[in-house]
Symmetry: C2
Subunit: 200 residues, 2 copies
C-alpha cells in the first residue's frame, strides 16, 4: 500500500530538504494536506520565487535578490576590512556574534578538487579584483577550521600576497563555556601554541 | 542583520512545516539556495500541484487525486468490513501492520466542540449512507485511544446503532515489546480488565 501517486511524489520531493527522512516527509505532507493548504501554497510560491530570483550580490556574493546586498548597501559599515566566509550561514553567525563592522566576501563553499570545486567556483578572481580596487587595510580569512577551510585560506593568501595587504585568520582555541575535558586534542594543542599573556 | 527580504520570506514560510523552527528553516533555505535549486523548484511545483489536486475519495474520504482511492479501486479487498480511522496516517499504519483486508472510512479528525469540529466536518452523514448502502458485516471504530477518539467512536456508534450492524473497537492493552514498568496506569488497568484466557 502506498499513498496516491501525487501524495507519493510530494513525500519524495520533501526529502530534498536536509534532515527529512520518510517519517518526517509523511508528517509534513499530511500536515499540509490535512491542516494547512493555504500555508503550503504560500510556501510553494515563495520557494519558487526565491529559487528563481535570489542570486549573488555583485560585490560580495552574499545571497540577495537585489544587485547589491543589504550589507554592501549599508553606508555606516567600514570598507577597511573584508571578511571572507564560506557560507551565508557563517556570515550570519558573525553578524549575530556582533562586534564586526566591516564588509564580507562569500565563497559559497571551499576548495575541493575531488568534488571538482576550484578557485573559479569560489569567485576568487572577483575577490582579488575587489581587494585590488578597494585596497582594504585587512582581509580576514574566516573560512572554517577544517582541512578544506584551511586549504582554501592558504590558497587565497597566496593569491592576495602580491597586493601586500594584511591577512589574518580567526584565533584558534578552546570554545567559551566549554569543559576542557571535552575539547578535542587538536583544538587543545592549538590553544596551547596560541596561549596569551594573562591580564586582568 | 537579516537575510534579504525574499530569503526572510522563505525562512518564515518554511515554518508552516511541522517541527521546523528558525534554525531548521535557515538550514533548509540555505541548502536549497546554495546546493539544490533544482530539487527545490521541483518540490515547490509538486507541492502546489498536490495541494491543488489532492482531495477526498468520494467513497471513503481517503486522500487521493482520483475520484476513488486505490484501496476502494482494489477489487480483491473485502467489502464486509469498514474500518473508521481519524487520519490517512492511521490508515497507513494499519496497512503497514498487515492483516486487515477490508475497506476504510477516514474522518480527518475527531469530534472537538471547542474547536468547532462537529459531525458534518467528519463526514458522518456520508459514513451512515455508506454503511446503509453497502451493509457490511462489521464496522471497526479505530479512532485513537484518546478522550476525543473515544467520544467520536461513541457518537458514531450511536448514529449507526439503528442499522443493526456489528460495531467493534480495537483491543486496549499493553503494547507489544514494551516493559510493564513504563506502561501508563490507565493502559495497565484496561489491560487487566480485558485480560484473556491463557493458551499456547
Ligand atoms: Zn554584498
Ligand atoms: Zn476510497
Amino acid at each position: 500500500m502506498t499513498f496516491s501517486p501525487l501524495v507519493e511524489q510530494l513525500l519524495e520531493s520533501l526529502r530534498v530538504l536536509p534532515g527529512v527522512g520518510p517519517r518526517t516527509a509523511q508528517r509534513m505532507a499530511l500536515h499540509l494536506l490535512e491542516r494547512d493548504r493555504e500555508g503550503g501554497l504560500r510556501l510553494s510560491q515563495v520557494m519558487a520565487e526565491a529559487l528563481d530570483r535570489v542570486g549573488y550580490c555583485r560585490r560580495c556574493r552574499n545571497l540577495t535578490e537585489q544587485s547589491l546586498c543589504s550589507i554592501c548597501e549599508e553606508t555606516r559599515r567600514s570598507d577597511r576590512t573584508i571578511c571572507v566566509v564560506e557560507s551565508p550561514a557563517d556570515l550570519m553567525a558573525i553578524e549575530e556574534a556582533g562586534g564586526y563592522q566591516g564588509r564580507y566576501f562569500v565563497l559559497h563553499g571551499h576548495l575541493s578538487p575531488l568534488d571538482g570545486i576550484g578557485p573559479e567556483d569560489l569567485g576568487l578572481d572577483a575577490l582579488e579584483k575587489l581587494v585590488r580596487e578597494e585596497a582594504p587595510d585587512e582581509v580576514i580569512l574566516a573560512t572554517n577550521p577544517t582541512v578544506e577551510g584551511e586549504a582554501s585560506a592558504h590558497y587565497i593568501a597566496e593569491q592576495l600576497r602580491p597586493l601586500e595587504i594584511r591577512l589574518s585568520r580567526l584565533a584558534y582555541g578552546v570554545p567559551m563555556g566549554g569543559d576542557l575535558e571535552y575539547v578535542d586534542s587538536g583544538t587543545l594543542s592549538r590553544a596551547f601554541l596560541g596561549r596569551q599573556a594573562f591580564s586582568d
